[in-house]
Symmetry: C2
Subunit: 342 residues, 2 copies
């Protein structure tokens, strides 16, 4: 097991969802907490209960500012948790929420966050059944942090996993990319662009149910990921690595709104690296692609869904065929685009 | 629903487990998140899964210092979560852990916390199946915060709830009180007492199983609480309020170690208000008391278990018959003895 020297410190990038996040998980957490559910490195861990399978997930949310265009930390906590369960094919059974508050935090803001969190839970059809509140003295936390966890039931036959992609599979994304990351970034820095960019934060369990309803065999959905920190790039690289396949993305087919594209051009950002909080990536058997795509497009949260690429033989890596016809490697973000994006 | 004025702010006492914590839950959270599982205000929420019942719980841990005599924030996170499940009669199925780290936090300390957390999970026979790490810039959090959540299965026939106490029931505590709160307090302030006081932090699921094994009818355990923030006083007042009964405690029968008693005398503290992290309070049917007590005493974590009181008719309140023979009201702590005790 790796030992750490006195000088080794946590960097912002350790929380960024990119290369250093992965290193932290692989070198520090996995060897110590060794168990197969965690080692699968999926969005949720799976535990058996008799013949049934439960998915269990958690995320801490530290987004700054806690209220941003299109959402807030409460909606984010619920949607993020529901989406991690959905990415495992699970229907949510119950959620928990734990607040860490800084002394002096306005009660009206806490009420607003709680209202938003409750509304999102109703939208997803799930309840917050347990909670906790801790308060730390002024200056020892920044306003409000929210940790959420959830448990869900995985219906029989569903077995999506990051390791499930196979050559020939198609990659579908449920809608335009980059909105959450950009909305938080612009909201924080007070930059105004023509055409407001709002976070896409939304629960996707109903969308995932619609996708499954379109599959004669639920096993045809091989992998799902909600592309949060690190964006589509991180999600696809995780799938490629876990599956031992290459993934080829067609940039021209990848949905990005004109507003996000314009802002990315100005700021020098890649929309495929930006966080999403209301999009799902599906890796599906080729013959099921049309049915899943049609089902997604028929759902309000998937109207702009698109087939953006395919899984191929070859060393695990993700390539993008650009709109100019050239090919580039889509790497995991190495550094931190912006801390506290979710 | 209560609206909050601009000037209303979070106080340290809102996180203290006492009166203001309760107000926050009742006025802000419950009306907004309204659902029966949460409204029960037990240590874990209960959700149905077909014929089965799952318990779901979460806690955020912000203890300072994160390493204290007898334990650390990692052991605390696992034990606290397992004990909340155990207080609902549930056997743990899986845990999740989310870290919020301050930029610059030593990786060696994170590894030490993770080792301790993993060891405690092994001790409790449960796995950490999902996790998350967020990093905030220097100065925006104090070192390390850990949120944990857990799901457990409640075997048929078990139905402990804070509202379950009935006149005639006996109150059992599984061992001496006040050790965790005092160990953290002294550890933080660098006060040395003769005879080191160490936190009792430990998972109690095996102890609770032993208690159930001693009951012919699992329904004979009417209520359980792990008396953490706010100590025995908060736990018993919660049970009295939820059950609509009075509880009479016999101070002479209440186990407190000589070291804790001496330190409390010097510092002017009431051991019944101090946090515990390895003790369970049982409210049991009178005729089952001896069997449960014997089972607890036969277990390494319950050797000093004692019957400390009984449930009586009357308005919900907790009274203590002192060793001098007088009677005093055991109130919920109003203020905050010390922030960041767990």
């Amino acid at each position: 097991m790796k030992a750490f020297a006195d000088g080794d410190r946590i960097l912002l990038s350790h929380g960024g969802g990119g290369l250093l996040s992965r290193e932290l998980v692989e070198r520090l957490f996995l060897p110590r907490l060794a168990n197969p559910a965690l080692a699968a490195l999926d969005d949720a861990g799976v535990v058996a209960l008799g013949e049934q399978r439960l998915a269990l997930t958690t995320d801490a949310f530290v987004v700054a500012p806690p209220f941003f265009p299109g959402g807030d930390i409460g909606r984010l906590a619920v949607a993020g948790t529901v989406n991690d369960l959905a990415a495992q094919g699970a229907r949510p059974l119950g959620l928990t929420v734990a607040f860490i508050l800084e002394e002096g935090y306005p009660l009206a803001d806490l009420a607003r966050v709680t209202d938003s969190l409750a509304a999102c839970a109703r939208e997803a059809g799930v309840s917050v059944v347990a909670g906790d509140t801790k308060v730390v003295p002024r200056g020892q936390a920044d306003g409000i942090f929210v940790s959420a966890a959830g448990v869900g039931l995985i219906p029989a036959g569903r077995c999506p996993t990051g390791a499930g992609a196979r050559p020939g599979d198609r990659v579908i994304v449920s809608g335009p990319l980059g909105e959450h990351g950009l909305a938080v970034m612009l909201g924080r820095q007070g930059i105004a662009f023509a055409g407001e960019i709002r976070s896409d934060v939304a629960p996707l369990n109903a969308l995932v149910e619609a996708a499954y309803a379109a599959c004669a065999d639920p096993g045809a959905i091989h992998a799902m990921r909600d592309p949060t920190r690190g964006g589509l790039a991180a999600a696809l690289n995780e799938i490629a690595a876990a599956s031992g396949c290459a993934i080829a993305v067609d940039e021209a087919a990848t949905p990005v709104s004109p507003e996000v594209r314009a802002a990315c051009d100005v700021l020098g950002l890649d929309p495929l690296h930006l966080a999403n909080e209301g999009k799902m990536v599906f890796v599906v058997a080729a013959e099921t692609t049309d049915a899943v795509l049609a089902a997604l497009r028929a759902h309000e949260r998937g109207r702009l869904a698109a087939v953006i690429g395919r899984v191929t033989d070859g060393a695990p890596r993700v390539t993008v065929r650009t709109e100019l016809g050239t090919e580039r490697l889509l790497d995991v973000p190495v550094g931190e685009q912006l801390p506290r994006i979710c």
